[in-house]
Amino acid sequence: MTTETSQRADAGMAAFVSTTSRWGRITMTTALLLSLAGPVHLVAFTGVEVGGAQIWIAFAAVAATFGVIWVLEPLTYYPILGPAAMYQAFMIGNISNKLLPAAIVAQDSVNAAPGTRRGDLAAVMAICGAAVVHLTSLLVFVGLLGNWLLSILPAELIEVARLYILPAVLGAVLVQCVATMRRPRPTVIAVVAALLIQFALIPVLPGLAMYATALCVATTMALSWFLRDRRPPGEALQEGDTDPVPSDPHTQPAKEGR
């Protein structure tokens, strides 16, 4: 493409990032304050007996478990989500079982590679779509009908959903992720790294279980880079950024970088 269009794209993307960052921070700060206001009201203004010391002890116990994850998780998902979607994802929650899958499906659907501008935009739009479905279904099925559903759904069904939601979502998502990326080397590296961490490393050092995902992400990123296919030079990888979209992505299995 010409330098002029490239400059316009740069400026446009810069405006997009600055708008989404500003509003992302405003809305996230609002949600942060509101989410704390509820329990603070409960402790301060109702009859419950909770002391400051008790809260600190409980907070310390939770921090001992999740403290590292608070920092690691944003670091882990940033390369996948990009700056704009970070503010969406950590407010909507359910990142790995819902938002990332939605982003992958959408990137595949419009043939945009992750990490490119089109990929970032596809992810943002997908998360918007997922947010609308998610918020609406929560408001209707949990907010309005929740207690009624609780009374009519068989207890066993609810128990099964609670126990097995993660494996039920993740098996399919892993397959979808592999099929979308079409990058054999990083795929093999990722699966082997995960198996080694789970079945060789964690039995020896059980304390690492909490950090397994972050460890696997770091290992896969590093090895995918050092063991990359060096035949096609870098420019082949950047094409996804600017290429016009093929009208039908399904008829052409080959993607950039192969």
């Binding site: 989410s35 940033y78 950590f90 950024d241």
Partner: protein, 268 residues
């Protein structure tokens, strides 16, 4: 957020036992303890705060979509592509959303509706939030939904969950601008690296999350295999029939089929 931890039960058993001194004056569980708890948990102020979080997300979604529409054409993303991505994201999230709804309903009796909406439905996820609540409850010498779990202990669990979720958001607010600057530098210095890192991160994250489920039980293993198998079938069929809609619905079908298999295996 969540999912980097192994899961609620493992987290709990690992952390609970050496609990600090029992609750100073936790009221003994009484017959009306449960109703008392839910009336506190469902109070109007808590409802308002939860709905406020929903509103914040709706506003954000609206602003983001407008911004994406403005920039789309300039970076080679047509209106059709943007709408396509929105629809694909919406459809793909139907299956997981219904699964989250089922889990959320299961937790209503523990936390009341607004706390479940704000904490399990949004912001966090069932795994981390239940783990946080369990840990906090343990520090008061009670168990989640069991002995000693009254309105006061609920309030403690609720504030611990909210503080923990707040720390995630705080980390995101502080780290994202830093990462953005680093990413820009990296992207201009080494574009090939920026093409590989997101793929590696995504594949690494899902491989580990999936493998973590496998050793939990035979049913977990069967559920993972069923879910993956249905997805493979859907994708092959979608390619053979050139059916784009099937690719978008595939996740929903896989989740429901896998939960059905888990249900049968669980009952057996």
């Amino acid at each position: 957020m969540a999912s980097l931890n192994p899961g609620p039960s493992e987290g709990l058993s690992a952390v609970l036992p050496p609990g600090p001194p029992p609750a100073p004056s936790a009221a003994p569980p009484t017959a009306d303890g449960a109703t008392d708890l839910l009336s506190v948990a469902n109070s109007p102020v808590i409802w308002l705060c939860a709905l406020g979080v929903f509103a914040a997300i709706f506003v954000q979604t609206f602003v983001y979509m407008r911004a994406a529409r403005t920039v789309g054409p300039e970076v080679g993303m047509s209106r059709t592509d943007l709408t396509g991505a929105f629809r694909a994201g919406a459809v793909a999230s139907i299956g997981p959303s219904l699964a989250v709804v089922l889990v959320a309903v299961a937790l209503l009796a523990l936390f009341g509706t607004p706390a479940v909406l704000a904490r399990i439905g949004l912001i966090g996820s069932a795994g981390t939030e239940v783990a946080s609540a369990g840990i906090a409850t343990g520090t008061a010498g009670a168990t989640l939904g069991g002995t000693g779990y009254d309105a006061s202990v609920f309030a403690l669990a609720f504030i611990a969950m909210s503080l923990s979720g707040g720390m995630w958001m705080l980390a995101t607010l502080l780290l994202t601008p830093v990462l953005e600057r680093g990413g820009k530098k990296l992207a201009s210095a080494n574009p090939a690296l920026m093409a590989i890192l997101p793929c590696g991160a995504l594949l690494g994250a899902f491989s580990m999350l999936t493998v973590t489920e496998i050793p939990k039980s035979g049913i977990h293993l069967v559920t993972v295999i069923a879910s993956a198998g249905v997805m493979v079938g859907c994708l092959l069929l979608a390619r053979a029939l050139d059916a784009r809609w099937l690719k978008e619905w595939a996740l929903g079908f896989s989740v429901i089929a896998a939960l059905a298999v888990a249900y049968l295996a669980h009952a057996a």
